[in-house]
Amino acid sequence: MAAATAVAAEVVVADAEAAINTITNLPRLGVGFGFRDRYHTDVFVHRSSIDFLEITADHFFDASRAKREQLELLSRNFTLIPHGLSLSLGSAEGIDDVYLRQLADIVSAVSPPWWSEHIAFTHAGGIDIGHLTSLPRTKESLAVLGRNIRRAKAAIPMPLILENITESIRYPGDQIDEASFLGELLEENDCGLLLDVTNLYTNSVNYRFDPLPLLWRLPRERIVQLHFAGGHWQDETLIDSHSTPACEEVWSLLREVLAYADVRGIILERDEKLPPLTEILIEVNRAREMYLQAKSNNHPASREG
């Protein structure tokens, strides 16, 4: 009996190690940006300056023939990471079958090393909110996320990484602190973290906390990809609007994250006031210098590995 228990325990440990390896063995992609139609031609002109692209999967749902051809063209020339917006993994009422099928089709079409979605809910009570809305950090939320993630992973076999969002509200009834919530969520569901550095910074400003202690409590081996962007101030609140170049505080935090974790890819996001691609690439190149510097420093995560 004791031997059987020991064997079972070993199997559990082996399974756990294998699960982590799925995340830690992901390829290093470098630095890119979120593809937008405006840059359709320019990405090929500047191909050598772009390591990979993130696509918004929703843009290609029910796509016209032209959009499908665009996706095929992009996937032949770039590594593409599909990023979902509205799977609503945090919805207590479950995730939408049609949406999941459409998302699975897009992920399958581009065969990415991983794909990503948000730790949020976007629909409830039959209503599409149109916002990424935060969840209370409770055991119930973890259970709902787990249930929905299992369904998503059954439909999409590639590794899933989950993104932290900017929080319009924080629920005073939270049962679990943010780092513990994220850690448990990622471990229990064998997911990576898409750490949006700007979102982390934005929340730290709006809710007045130091982001570094939180960062240092995150499971570093599960931090796969980063997002960063610039926002703007409105009524004494920092808005994650993806409308400006990243501020220096975000760059500093980005550097801290790269020193902490063996990040596999960085994506610059821009959705408003889209500048010429050459301006986007200035930030991409700056991020790449940081990324390469961090790799050359043989940071702790690599050494431990």
């Binding site: 929703d58 629909h123 319009s168 408003e272």
Partner: protein
């Protein structure tokens, strides 16, 4: 009685999704939320939304009267508050947009600015899709669409871009 996550989410979604429901939702939320902390959180969220809408709606009512804005509202109300067919919604929008178009540019610009500030990604996509579908070439028409997307567009439109 403490609300379940599903109930809380439905309440928040209802408040966020329809400006017409906000005042009622605010009242019911204040009355119904039994857990004080969730109550306070929902109130914060709703207040933000109300404040945002109050910023633009008075100008709307002054400038639009019962023409453009009200006709759009009626078109949607006639479909009920459940989830109507997206295609029906868009077709209704299209018909309304081809109406008199007597909307003050400054009001439209206000809405447009609001759209840029809030959820701009989603609304950008919805806007561009609608412009393409209905071939609205003039700037005024495009700005009118911003208005419609702002008031009614909500999330599901973004999927179609």
């Amino acid at each position: 009685m403490e609300r379940s996550l599903a109930e809380l989410q439905s309440e928040i979604a209802r408040c966020l999704a329809d400006p017409d429901l906000i005042d009622d939702a605010l009242k019911s939320t204040l009355q119904d939320f039994s857990l004080q902390e969730l109550h306070a959180a929902a109130e914060t969220l709703i207040r933000k939304r109300v404040a945002r809408l109050r910023h633009v709606l008075p100008r709307t009512s002054r400038s639009l009267g019962t023409t453009f804005s009200e006709r759009c509202r009626q078109a949607f109300r006639s479909r009920g508050t459940t989830t109507p067919s997206l295609q029906d919604d868009i077709d209704a929008l299209g018909r309304e947009m081809r109406g008199d178009g007597s909307v003050s540019p400054c009001v439209i610009e206000t809405y447009r600015w609001e759209c840029l500030r809030h959820d701009s990604m989603n609304r950008n996509w919805a806007f561009r899709w609608l412009v393409k579908r209905y071939d609205f070439e003039s700037e005024e028409r495009k700005l009118q669409l911003w208005c419609v997307v702002k008031i009614f567009g909500r999330g599901k439109l973004w999927r179609l871009w």
